[in-house]
């Protein structure tokens, strides 16, 4: 091509003739992999949801239409699960925000050792969730837990309490483990949002004699509001799908008290009832789709802008 006299003229004619396969080759591996491990399984999940499949007799699964979905309407564990899912979402997400916002505001100040504090703040998020579950079980243990010991010493309790066998207490302990694990990411993202607020705004407000509190209300809050909204939405979706922490710490118990829909589906899978488990997962996903369609649109717009 280099010794052609007018490459600029030759090139476009060539392009029009045949499709350039190179970019397709580049994206093929990741697209094929995602098709194999996400798209195909999703279709398979919908198919399984309409069968009475059990892991023990997978070959003999028969098509039963929407019977699984009808079964849900009469299934008390499923129906209560809707409320339990919502309760879990709201408890975790609002507490995470309540802890993360002060941390982010604090880390937005200028002080020596800020990098160190910020790194230490992130440590819970790096800890494997299964380890976090173990940590909190250990702290709240009925025989040798530090929480019991401190409460008894402080005179709040008379004797040691087996926290994890109470439905209410175990719920809040799992929530606190989840909040401890999830807060750093939220704080980090809020911090990133805070750092985009131009400093001149505060300087101007100070000149006008605005108090720190009114600066917070009138400058900080409006600026981070989109991020906060976005974070709440995302975390709600995530938490509705979350299984690890609840399963590791309680196995969904005591009784069914910690069976969110995701955990219920997972427990059914462990009991080999994969047809019904799939149906519940599909229903949960469909409900979340409304919310996540919003997120996908936002993400797509961002990525398309970035990639061009």
């Amino acid at each position: 091509m280099t010794d052609l006299p007018m490459p600029a003229v030759v090139k476009p004619r060539r392009r029009r003739k045949r499709i350039d396969l190179f970019p397709y080759l580049m994206i093929a591996p990741i697209c094929l992999l995602l098709a194999a491990v996400t798209v195909y399984p999703t279709l398979k999940a919908i198919e399984l949801a309409m069968t009475d499949a059990s892991l023990l007799r997978l070959q003999r699964a028969t098509f039963i239409g929407i019977a699984n979905f009808k079964r849900m309407l009469g299934d008390q564990v499923f129906l209560d699960g809707l409320w339990r899912t919502l309760r879990w979402d709201v408890a975790v997400v609002s507490l995470e925000l309540a802890v993360a916002l002060p941390i982010a505001l604090f880390l937005n100040l200028n002080f020596r050792g800020r990098g160190f504090v910020r790194a230490a703040m992130m440590v819970p998020y790096i800890t494997p969730p299964a380890v976090v579950g173990l940590l909190f079980l250990y702290m709240f243990d009925g025989n040798f837990g530090v929480v019991n010991d401190l409460l008894v010493r402080a005179g709040v309790l008379d004797g040691y309490v087996a926290w994890m066998s109470s439905p209410t207490a175990s719920f809040w302990i799992v929530v606190s483990a989840m909040v401890w694990y999830g807060t750093p990411l939220m704080a980090l993202i809020l911090l990133a949002a805070l750092q985009t607020i131009p400093g001149e705004l505060y300087e101007a407000a100070q000149v006008d004699g605005a108090s720190p509190w009114s600066q917070f209300l009138n400058i900080t809050i409006p600026h981070i509001m989109p991020t906060v909204f976005f974070l709440l939405l995302l975390r709600m979706i995530w938490m509705s799908n979350h299984i690890d922490m609840i399963f590791v710490m309680t196995g969904g118990g005591p009784g069914f008290s910690n069976h969110t829909e995701a955990v219920y589906s997972f427990m059914l899978t462990n009991q080999f009832q994969i047809g019904y488990a799939s149906a519940i997962a599909v229903v949960l996903a469909a409900m979340l789709m409304f919310v996540s369609a919003f997120y996908v649109r936002h993400l797509a717009r961002n990525v398309l802008v970035n990639a061009s």
Binding site: V37, P41, L107, N110, A119, I126, I237, V282
Partner: protein, 288 residues
């Protein structure tokens, strides 16, 4: 809210110190607590007749010991689980980096028919909740004999790490000026060579962040590991952590030692590369 002049500098410094202390305590105390547990001698370190009530709340052990760590590797096949986690997380990191950098290069540097549709499709794949994937993956993996293999685990973990790293690298590659590739192409570099010689070296921080985050995600993931592995040959550390949480073996000192050993590698990786990883996390999670 940021730096403001108060009447004197002393109260501000004290407040800062207090705030820093609270954050440090909140973030690190549980881990310190389990570390103390792991070096506290177990009164009944007997796997057959572990007597729970014999354990006391201990803040400062009188005679710190490493016995729990020793029995962790001697009695529980912890070495095997550690190896499995390393193979699967490492394998996933390599796979993810290769396919995501090829993909990001294709998406960022070329205009082709169906480009934005493919891109949006990968995003949709990224947002499919893992609850839906659990059952069918289990069925598919059984059908193709992929369950209880390291390779199968590497593939399963790629469901979330690959799109994440792809998005991160798309952001990264698009900040690099195009003139560089064009100059290299004029000098006779092929298009694949441009990726290898120009783009990848320039985006090293992005690659490090993406690769290590993929490693950490995989290392920490519990669900797929729990569902898709049943033999000790493939089980990973989080699965063992659940066994510990259920109280088998019922020796808390050993469980605590296991928790510390499972956390240490990822914590060290994070602290060493924290700047790159934090910007990667913030970018991947919000901007997409």
């Amino acid at each position: 809210m940021s730096t403001k002049r108060r009447k004197s500098a002393v109260p501000r410094r004290m407040l800062i110190g207090l705030g820093a202390f609270v954050i440090l305590f909140y973030s690190l105390a549980p881990l310190l607590w389990i570390f103390v547990a792991s070096i506290t001698p177990e009164h009944t370190a007997n796997f057959d007749r572990a007597w729970l009530s014999n354990r006391q709340v201990t803040y400062f052990p009188d005679s710190p010991t490493v016995a729990n760590y020793v029995s962790l590797f001697a009695t529980v096949p912890f070495g095997t689980y550690f190896r499995n986690s390393t193979i699967i997380a490492g394998g996933n990191m390599i796979l993810t980096l290769v396919i995501a950098s090829l993909g990001a290069y294709g998406f960022v540097r070329f205009r082709f028919f169906g480009r934005s549709s493919f891109l949006v499709a990968t995003l949709v794949a990224y947002t499919i909740p893992s609850v839906v994937l659990l059952v069918p993956l289990l069925v598919i993996f059984r059908t193709y004999g992929l369950n209880n293999t390291h390779f199968g685990m590497v593939l399963a973990e790629a469901t979330h790490s690959a799109p994440f790293v792809l998005l991160l690298l798309i952001n990264y590659f698009s900040t690099l000026p195009r003139d560089l590739d064009e100059a290299a192409q004029v000098d006779g570099c092929g298009r694949l060579k441009v990726l290898w010689r120009i783009i990848l070296p320039l985006s090293l921080p992005g690659l490090v962040a993406g690769g290590l985050l993929a490693f950490i995600m995989t290392w920490n993931n519990f669900l797929f590991a729990f569902l898709l592995t049943s033999t000790a040959e493939v089980k990973t550390l989080p699965v063992i952590m659940r066994q510990f949480a259920l109280g088998e073996p019922a020796v808390w000192g050993v469980s605590a030692a296991g928790a510390i050993v499972s956390t240490l590698p990822v914590a060290l990786i994070f602290l060493l590369f924290q700047r790159m990883l934090m910007s990667g996390l913030a970018a991947g999670a919000v901007k997409g």
